[in-house]
């Protein structure tokens, strides 16, 4: 029954980031109300982005869609474990997708990441406000990445989106490994005020 109702919601085209508090509300509705419509909205926002990065990682179209689907399924299962400590909604979804990709595409154990989730991090400000704030931080980082030099943007992108190890980035771009690392360090320095929320 519920499925039939859901099918009447027209799929939305991929859009830019939603306002931070909207994303925070969606995840909260999934966690507390088991709201399928809220999950469907997260799907509309994130599945196309997830599919895009999985395709870049070398997955075929079917596998990229499966991994995007599986990521949202983990969001459904773990929504109640989500907290501001896990970062913005997009950061949390990025880490879920990363762990699935390590498992499926790199064929390595993602346990070092999964087990680390069990390590509780002290947080003095849990709850809704902090979640909104986290989402705002990531929105600012998204914009700030576009202000990096082209060289810096390229290495950030090749590493975080295209899943290419630093040594391979060096080969592809034709620069020494040390230069890849120094460009990443410079990019971090430029993003630092946003990343460390010093604004």
């Amino acid at each position: 029954m519920l499925t039939a109702t859901m099918s009447q919601i027209p799929p939305q085209p991929p859009t830019g980031p939603l306002p931070a508090d909207d994303l925070a509300k969606l995840i909260e509705r999934v966690a507390t109300l088991r709201d399928r419509e809220a999950l469907a909205k997260l799907f509309d926002i994130f599945a196309p982005k997830l599919k895009a990065i999985m395709l870049r990682h070398g997955a075929n179209s079917a596998m990229a869609e499966d991994l995007a689907q599986e990521t949202l399924l983990v969001v459904w299962r773990k929504a109640h474990l989500y907290s501001a400590q896990r970062g913005a909604v997009s950061t949390w979804i990025f880490t879920i997708a990363r762990n699935l990709r390590i498992d499926h595409l790199r064929r390595q154990s993602n346990r070092p990441y999964e087990d680390l989730e069990g390590v509780e991090i002290a947080s003095d400000a849990p709850g809704g406000d902090r979640i909104v704030e986290e989402n705002q931080i990531v929105d600012r980082v998204t914009l700030a990445i576009r202000t990096l030099s082209k060289e810096q943007q390229d290495v950030v992108r090749l590493s975080f989106i295209e899943d290419i190890p630093h040594s391979e980035i060096a080969t592809r771009v034709g620069i020494p490994l040390g230069t890849v690392k120094s460009r990443l360090r410079l990019a971090y320095e430029r993003l630092r005020p946003m990343l460390e929320d010093l604004q």
Binding site: A47, R77, I102, D115, G118, V119, I145, F160, H166
Partner: protein, 214 residues
């Protein structure tokens, strides 16, 4: 008090998910022990969140949304967080070393130096190993042919970069030469990730041969 941390570019690679399993494990074990790097990873993860958020996206096929919702019907598994048992071993390492440091069957690699490989997923091209240097002993001067991550699990050692004690991590690029000396009092045990192309053990033996006539 942890004073030696991984390079920020290594934390970025950890967040991006491009490290080989041995390196990822050494980093996650350090992060489990180090509050500063817990905050550090939270920051580098934000770059991943921002990168995902800025992606243009590729349209999902028709019906993908319905398939997800149907999957929810079939799946009502809710993940329950399992309580973390109290143990001296940092959480991520427990799976790789379930019986603790005292149960290791060491393989002698020269006077005062012993190693033990730990199993990783098939197909992983780098190595995860434990290295033990007897208190006060010197590891012959060596260089690294690739990135080498060393996390101190017990004891301490000193080299030209300083003193590395429990919880500290040495993040060395290739071309770095150093000669660690275990501090007196306690054997120094390290968790090490190395490039498999460079067989650390045979390198050690090769280095030790002229010194000790092996």
């Amino acid at each position: 008090m942890i004073t030696q941390h991984p390079d920020i570019s290594t934390l970025m690679a950890f967040s991006a998910g491009t490290l080989d399993e041995p390196y990822a494990l050494v980093i996650s074990t350090h992060v489990a022990m180090c509050e500063a790097c817990q905050e550090g990873v939270r920051r580098t993860d934000r770059i991943g969140g921002a990168a995902l958020s800025g992606e243009a996206g590729v349209a999902m096929s028709d019906g993908a949304r319905l398939r997800l919702l149907a999957a929810l019907d079939a799946d009502d598994a809710i993940v329950v967080k399992s309580p973390v048992e109290v143990s001296e071993m940092p959480v991520p390492l427990r799976r790789y070393l379930p019986y603790g440091l005292s149960s290791i069957r060491w393989r002698a690699n020269g006077p005062g130096v012993a190693t033990r490989d730990l199993p990783v997923s098939p197909g992983v091209k780098s190595r995860l190993m434990l290295l033990k240097v007897a208190a006060g002993r010197r590891v012959p001067e060596h260089s690294h042919g690739g990135q080498e991550l060393t996390l101190i699990l017990q004891g301490a050692y000193k080299d030209r970069f300083g003193i590395f004690a429990t919880g500290d991590i040495a993040d060395h690029d290739e071309d770095v030469e150093h000669q660690p000396i275990a501090e007196p009092g306690e054997d120094c045990i390290c968790l090490v990730a190395v490039d498999a192309k460079l067989n650390f053990r045979s390198r050690l033996i090769r280095l030790l041969q002229p010194l000790f006539g092996m």
